[in-house]
């Protein structure tokens, strides 16, 4: 996907940390902290889809929410179009939200059941005062419905009258209402049936092409992430362990965790027999992360160094396009 490599950087995350206090004891004093996002850095370029994969509890959703400042970062910087947004005040933040939107996993929970589609999609238009007249507001809502593949008569209906796929279309229309440039999509298709997933994935790709959107696409389903993303980052216990173009990651994963994750995807073709790497044990508790490399207790390549010293995310000198980075002492 070389075309995006030349494009301007729209979002740059530097050394981002999000930690939560752990309270305990008689007086509920702070007795420690959990790092949900641990020193994460990456860049997203305009017009690309950056995929973020990892298993439950790896911090991918927290990272997405922190970028939009739905949760506050503990330290580190988030630059959106060159501006550090971690320090923005409320009114500047509101202006920023016109450019950054979010689509959530559960289209059942993220729509207010007492609001009509018109007021759901119209609310962001009102908040940002984007329409001068009632007629203009209605026209814009109609256009958004058309764009997202919903019928115009949907405007006066309530969320419960729609199927899961249609509700996710409403969520997308709401996110698009303010004409954002950047959308964080947190598991947007995970709750949907396979045939409906494909409809939503196609819609998101069409919208990206037509409107020049940039996506941060968060999901645990590697198949969908690989399909939609230009570049992909793999997270484990709050850290990015590998990042590369989708093709490179699929064809030449170097981190043992990415390799295991990829080999575990069930493929709907009985004739393709693959060597499956089955990981031992569970993800360790982030309360007591392992020493050194967080992955070493489950890693087949683990040596002494891995227990003592945590690896840094470093560019792979052998990578053909220069964007493959791995956090492993013994990549291969």
């Amino acid at each position: 996907m070389s075309l995006t490599l030349g494009a301007e950087v729209i979002l740059s995350v530097r050394n981002l940390v999000k930690s939560y206090p752990v309270r305990g004891g008689l007086l509920s004093r702070e007795i420690g902290s959990v790092q949900a996002v641990s020193n994460v850095s990456f860049e997203i370029r305009k017009g690309e889809t950056f995929g973020l994969v990892g298993e439950s509890g790896c911090g991918k959703s927290t990272l997405g929410r922190t970028i939009l400042r739905l949760t506050e970062a503990s330290s580190g910087q988030i630059y959106f179009k060159g501006q550090d947004i971690t320090a923005l005040g409320q009114s500047d933040l509101r202006k920023l939200r016109r450019q950054m939107q979010m689509i959530f996993q559960d289209p059942y929970a993220s729509l207010n059941p007492r609001m009509t589609v018109e007021s759901i999609i119209g609310e962001p238009l009102d908040i940002h005062r984007l329409c001068r007249s009632k007629a203009e507001r209605r026209e814009r809502i109609f256009n958004l419905l058309d764009r997202c593949g919903l019928r115009r008569e949907a405007i006066s209906r309530y969320p419960h009258e729609f199927s899961g796929g249609q509700r996710q279309r409403i969520c997308i229309a709401r996110a698009l209402a303010v004409e954002p440039e950047f959308i964080v999509c947190d598991e947007p298709v995970s709750a949907l049936d396979v045939s409906i997933q494909a409809q939503i994935v196609n819609l998101m790709q069409d919208l990206q092409k037509d409107l020049g959107l940039t996506y941060l696409f968060i999901a645990h389903d590697l198949k969908v992430v690989q399909h939609i993303s230009n570049r992909v980052a793999v997270m484990y216990l709050g850290k990015i362990v590998e990042t590369a173009t989708a093709d490179e990651l699929y064809l030449r994963p170097k981190h043992p965790y990415s390799q295991a994750l990829l080999s575990a995807i069930p493929i709907a073709d009985p004739s393709r027999k693959r060597e499956r790497i089955v990981l031992k044990g569970d993800i360790p508790s982030p309360l007591r992360p392992p020493s050194g490399c967080y992955f070493h207790p489950r890693c087949s390549r683990s040596r002494e160094k891995c227990q003592l010293e945590g690896p840094q995310l470093e560019n792979d000198a052998a990578s053909q396009d220069g964007v493959h980075a791995i956090s492993c002492h013994y990549p291969g």
Binding site: H227, I267, A268
Partner: protein
């Protein structure tokens, strides 16, 4: 000839609702042999779970009932048994694993107690013997330090561990048939790989028949020998996994297979990443089914004949160990 442990013949399960009578499972037949795995696939609302609940005779009354058909377990019709007799079969000869390991375990009892309870009930062992059997089972399903874990409560375990407890409970009485309803859907891919491997190992060790209910065609391709595709309460295609994935004939099966990203490479060695094929629309309501083929409104190759009488399930090819059946008028 391998023994057919379980044979379902023309099963029809209906629910009475305010909108009228609803046939959730409509004339469904299949069988599964010892040591073999049958996959039942389809999207939400197609009748997969109602089929499995019917086999266990767990259909909620009085709203639901099994209207007709036979469920033959080693030649004996389960539908003719008294509740007392059925209780001796359920959990003992035929076991079930449910999708949500979180809600199917009782939070106020230790996992050891919950597994022992089933054993005491069916095998007439003392509580102490049952406890050591439970520890054996935990060992078998790969729960680390089982003698210690046996006294833990469900909330102390991860999702993968809870699902192992469910499997241990289901297998504690050495059932001849295990029904697994979406056993890995709530789990991460690497944990899913662990659980699927475990099920396969255990099946080989104890030679039970496995009915695997899932919406994930990838899982079916990797685990099952035979597959039944369901749509709106009907079986629409049936045959060996090899045959169905190589030669899917029913447009719905083809659509399902094509709407999920395949992760295959194009001629240039890159990931294939065009638009996904979709199945337009949604599953029809069982209360307002179209006349004729139930898939007609979503089918891309619909004919006039599809709107006449509903097509019968017909044989299109067979070999020594499997028969390929489809419910479609077209000769593809």
């Amino acid at each position: 000839m391998v023994e057919k442990v379980l044979e379902v013949k023309s099963l029809r399960t209906v629910f009475s609702t305010e909108g009228g009578e609803l046939r959730a499972v409509d004339d469904v037949s299949f069988s599964v042999s010892a040591g073999k795995t049958l996959g039942i696939v389809g999207e939400s609302g197609c009748g997969k779970s109602v089929t499995s609940l019917s086999i266990m005779r767990l259909i909620p009354r009085p709203s639901g009932s099994i209207e007709s058909g036979q469920i033959l377990y080693r030649g004996q019709d389960l539908l003719g048994l008294s509740s007392e007799e059925m209780r001796r079969i359920r959990g003992n000869e035929i076991s079930m694993i449910f999708q949500e390991p979180m809600t199917s375990l009782n939070p106020v009892f230790t996992i050891g107690y919950q597994v022992s309870e089933a054993i005491v009930l069916h095998q007439r062992l003392t509580l102490r013997d049952a406890r050591s059997r439970a520890i054996e089972m935990f060992e078998l399903v790969g729960i680390p330090s089982p003698a210690k874990r046996v006294d833990e409560y469900p909330h102390q375990l991860s999702g993968g561990m809870r699902q192992r407890v469910m499997i241990a409970m289901a297998l504690a009485c050495h059932p001849k048939v295990l029904i697994a309803d979406e056993p890995t859907t709530a789990l991460d891919v690497t944990v899913q790989a662990q659980i699927l491997d475990l099920l396969r190992d255990l099946q080989q060790k104890v030679g039970m028949a496995l009915i695997l209910i899932t919406h994930d065609l990838g899982v079916v391709a990797e685990v099952a020998d035979d597959v039944v595709v369901m749509y709106a309460g009907r079986v629409v295609e049936q045959g060996s996994v090899k045959e169905i994935f190589k030669n899917p004939k029913m447009p719905y099966t083809r659509g399902l297979l094509r709407s999920s990203p395949t992760l295959t490479l194009d001629s240039g060695g890159r990931l294939r990443r065009g638009r996904l094929e979709t199945i337009p629309g949604i599953v029809p309501s069982l209360l307002s089914l179209p006349k004729g083929c139930r898939f007609q409104d979503r089918c891309s190759s619909v004919l006039e004949a599809c709107r006449g009488n509903e097509p019968e399930l017909r044989l299109i090819s067979s070999d020594s160990d499997s028969r390929h059946l489809i419910r479609c008028v077209r000769d593809i």
